[in-house]
Amino acid sequence: MELYLIAHIAGRGVAIPTEQVDSVVDLGDVVAVPCAVSSVRGLSALRSRVLTVIDTGTALGIEPMPDSCRRAVITRIDGHHYAVLVDSLDDVARYEPLSLSSGLSLQHGWASAGRGLVDRDGDPLLVLDLAALVPGTHKISAAAA
């Protein structure tokens, strides 16, 4: 049994392994980062820390998150803090991690971010790897030109 944070992203329930979760916050103002990839919504401050805000919907290749979305899961990757936007948060609970059902074909970003399944009272929830949502260092200089 492992501890998972149950959240809703784009209307779907997901399970986030709690070892990836630094904290859960409601973000303040977000400052845009012009020319950054679209999944970077901007920067926001949490105490003296600057968070890079990830538009989870865009990162997954589906609908962008609504502008009003403020709730975020904070995760730390390679020394940087990211705020991953979520629709809502449900619960923290222990579940048995299951492998992805054979034959299940995930589309868009779900495929790269999905790590497995948990069974929540009969509902299967996708286990999400937050690191897979964070854009890497791939150059996008062409986009700016």
């Binding site: 303040g28 103002d29 400052v31 845009a32 980062v33 012009p34 020319c35 950054a36 990839v37 999944s39 970077v40 920067l43 926001s44 401050a45 105490r47 003296s48 820390r49 600057v50 890079t52 390679d78 940087h80 990211y82 964070v134 854009p135 890497g136 260092t137 791939h138 150059k139 996008i140 200089s141 700016a144 030109a145």
Partner: protein, 771 residues
């Protein structure tokens, strides 16, 4: 060195404390390999540091112990009780000496031979000497790791933000003045704390310099050169991280200086230099910048060779290089892959070029520049911000968003609507002309895809390594010292930003990377080195410094400083009207003196001694005022004279003396001035009108030839009576006429045509001499 020693003491003491447990365990179980290793590492470290710090006693002790422990590790010796005791006695002794160093007291060293002897096989156990402990000074320094300092810094930022929040909330309500006073006090303390915490990151640059003497000595020896190193400004403080970042570039530059700069002793001798080369490394603080200067007296940069290599490597065409200024060619050593030595040597040619050095320096927000004096040496100046983490910035607005720009990268800020600025569309891009200098224009909001609010209102001239450009922004909002942190990879990947920051407003802000913006905007400065230089020289005609003074008539005048040899105060009695003009006698010579007003009533007065290295003149003034830069625009004076023109200095028009005119008038008089006989017609015209001109031209005028002297020339009026002396056929005569127009075949000269008269006189005398 003190700092290093302090660090060594602290470190050794710390290790000893940690080691105490190991020693006891090893004593109980001499075969325990892990304990043995720990003790071995300790004595080994001490030995290493001692060699560096020149502590021979500690070096000897630790060396002996290390030898024995190495033998034990290799299985050559059995760690029996005697050996363990002997090693422990030495470890104890090291501790005592370290405490003694710290306390600054001396420690008797007689028993140390015994301690070392006790290490030998089958040695009689040495009786442990009475411990000299007891003067252990309380430690006044602690060692912290950088992580802890960083946490302190970020905690500090939190406090500042919380204070701001509190102040904002309080401002909204009517607040008890006592609460306000308390907040005031809190603010003061917080600001002070912030400074203190910042200072914890500072370290003396000695930490960087202290390793240099050894390095220079070893490297010079390896190269067979003799070099004397001078270090200056070791006590300048710098951010610890910055010191680490500076280490490699500094070492590289010094190795370069030793390898390529300073010549071999024989070469130096034949060049007339002292055999021992000089290398000076100095640090000084200038505002919030630290300047580190590496100066050698070697050969300087072989510009021709560097340029040839750049062409050979295809970095530039020969035409490009030809078009470059000297400075631009020197800068070529910063081009990638260039080294003036054809063969890479073991000293500096390690595949790392000056391009890497420059990149490293720029990475920490610094700049590097050089001054080469061929045959006389090279000076490289590194300029870095005082601290890595706090950067002075300018906060700008573009498209409704705030950005920060490093103040060091901005050359100038001008308003786009000013008279000195013009913006033209060129094809699909734009050019800003700022005071005649053409710069590519980058509209920031357009580049960033932000909403545009018409034409940019302000231009920030951003200097990058390759060239400058104008960045069009909406407005300059603020200047702020910001704590800059690296941004997430996805943000850095844009290539536009150098980092992020959280200013006191509590809203994150991005720091723009001036060079990155240029790259993303597609600006190319490939040819900029040559072309840019030209623009630079046009824009910046070096200002002519001038001495501003109050003249004797109360006017302010200026004279170009280059013409002024010195200003000295002289006695009025040393100025006499002799030989037709005022002359100053000083230091055994007599020089012509100019004065615009009478000197009467002055006992002494300052005079300007002007020189063009051949002619000396003096100019009497009332008071020297200031050294000023002459504006490049000067209204020409009406008519010739000693005034070259009028310039505006401050709000005041100031006359500028024409040193050329002063010198011309003071042309060294012929040692024997030509005697000129004036045949006046009795009206005194010649004496009054002609004489000054002639005397200024170097003639001595007489109305009648003095006894025994023959005039060189005589002047007479064409219509006038010939006077005495004219009968002397040996004296050539120039005749003057009253009418402007000359009759045919007339050899007379119109009497008011000064130039023709003087020419005719000179001509006549010359002809006469030849004849």
């Amino acid at each position: 060195m003190d700092d290093l020693l302090q660090e060594f003491v602290a470190e050794t003491r710390e290790t000893l404390e940690a080691l105490a447990g190991e020693i006891v365990a090893w004593e109980a179980q001499p075969a325990d390999r892990a304990r043995l290793d720990a003790i071995f590492r300790f004595v080994h470290t001490v030995k290493g540091s001692c060699g560096f710090l020149d502590l021979p006693r500690l070096a000897r002790l630790s060396h002996a112990a290390e030898d024995v422990l190495a033998a034990v590790r290799d299985g050559q010796r059995i760690p029996d009780t005697a050996l363990v005791n002997a090693v422990l006695a030495i470890v104890d002794r090291i501790g005592e000496i370290v405490e003694a160093i710290d306390a600054g007291v001396s420690l008797d060293d007689t028993s140390e031979d015994l301690l070392i002897a006790a290490l030998a096989e089958n040695a009689a156990p040495a009786s442990a000497p009475a411990s000299a402990m007891g003067h252990r000074a309380p430690a006044r320094s602690v060692r912290l790791n950088v992580e802890l300092l960083d946490r302190m810094m970020s905690g500090m930022s939190d406090i500042v933000l919380a204070r701001n929040e509190l102040a904002r909330r309080l401002r909204d309500d009517d607040v008890d003045p006592r609460v306000e006073a308390a907040l005031e006090r809190l603010s003061g303390t917080v600001a002070e704390m912030r400074d203190t915490v910042t200072r914890t990151r500072m370290q003396k640059i000695d930490a960087l310099f202290s390793a240099l003497p050894r390095m220079v000595r070893d490297t010079a020896a390896e190269l067979g050169k003799a070099v004397a190193l001078t270090l200056e400004g070791s006590d300048v403080e710098l951010d610890r991280e910055m010191i680490e970042m500076m280490r490699d570039p500094l070492v590289h530059i010094i190795r370069n200086a030793l390898d390529h700069g300073i010549e071999a002793p024989s070469v130096r001798r034949s060049a007339g230099k002292r055999e021992t080369g000089r290398l000076t490394v100095s640090a000084r603080q200038s505002g919030n910048q630290i300047l580190v200067e590496i100066a050698d007296d070697g050969a300087g940069i072989d510009v021709a060779r560097v340029a040839a290599k750049a062409v050979k490597m295809g970095l530039y065409s020969a035409a490009d290089v030809d078009a470059m200024s000297q400075a631009a060619r020197e800068e070529l050593i910063f081009a990638a892959g260039l080294s003036s030595k054809d063969l890479a040597s073991s000293i500096s040619g390690r595949g790392v070029g000056m391009d890497v050095v420059r990149a490293n320096i720029e990475q920490i927000g610094g700049r590097i520049s050089l001054t080469s004096r061929p045959g006389r040496g090279l000076v490289i100046t590194i300029q870095v911000p005082l601290t890595l983490s706090i950067m002075p910035t300018i906060v700008i607005g573009a498209g409704g968003q705030r950005f920060a720009l490093s103040r060091a990268s901005i050359d100038e800020i001008v308003t786009a609507r000013g008279d000195t600025v013009r913006i033209d569309a060129v094809g699909d891009s734009a050019i800003a002309t700022v005071r005649g200098e053409r710069l590519p224009l980058v509209r920031l909001s357009a580049l960033l895809g932000l909403p545009q609010t018409g034409e940019p209102g302000t231009l920030a001239i951003v200097g990058t390594r390759d060239g400058s450009y104008a960045l069009g922004i909406d407005a300059v909002l603020d200047t702020e010292e910001l704590v800059i942190k690296p941004a997430a990879p996805a943000v850095m990947a844009t290539g536009l930003y150098a980092g992020q920051s959280l200013p006191d407003s509590g809203l994150p802000m991005l720091l723009l990377d001036g060079a990155g913006v240029a790259t993303v905007a597609g600006l190319r400065f490939d040819r900029a080195i040559g072309a840019d230089e030209q623009a630079d020289t046009e824009a910046a005609i070096p200002a002519v410094p001038a001495l501003l003074f109050e003249d004797l008539d109360g006017q302010r005048r200026a004279v170009p400083l280059a013409a002024v040899d010195r200003v000295e105060t002289v006695e009025a009695s040393s100025i006499r009207h002799v030989g037709g003009r005022l002359r100053l006698s000083a230091d055994g010579v007599i020089v012509p003196l100019y004065s615009v007003a009478t000197l009467e009533g002055r006992a002494s007065l300052p005079v300007l001694r002007l020189t063009d290295r051949e002619t000396d003149v003096a100019y009497a003034i009332a008071e020297p005022l200031d050294i000023v830069d002459l504006p490049t625009t000067m209204a020409c004076a009406n008519g010739a004279g000693t005034i070259a023109g009028v310039v505006l200095i401050g709000e005041e028009p100031v006359e500028v003396l024409d040193p050329l005119a002063l010198f011309a008038q003071a042309e060294p008089e012929p040692a024997d001035p030509a005697l000129c006989l004036l045949h006046d017609d009795g009206t005194g015209w010649m004496d009054q009108f002609l004489r000054p001109t002639l005397e200024a031209a170097g003639y001595r005028c007489v109305a009648a030839a003095p006894a025994g002297q023959r005039p060189a020339i005589a002047l007479s009026l064409a219509s006038g009576e010939r006077g005495a002396g004219a009968n002397d056929p040996g004296v050539p005569v120039v005749r003057l006429r009253r009418e402007r127009a000359a009759a045919r075949e007339d050899t007379t000269v119109y009497r008011y045509d000064r130039a023709a008269l003087l020419a005719a006189m000179a001509d006549t005398i010359a002809t006469r001499r030849i004849g």
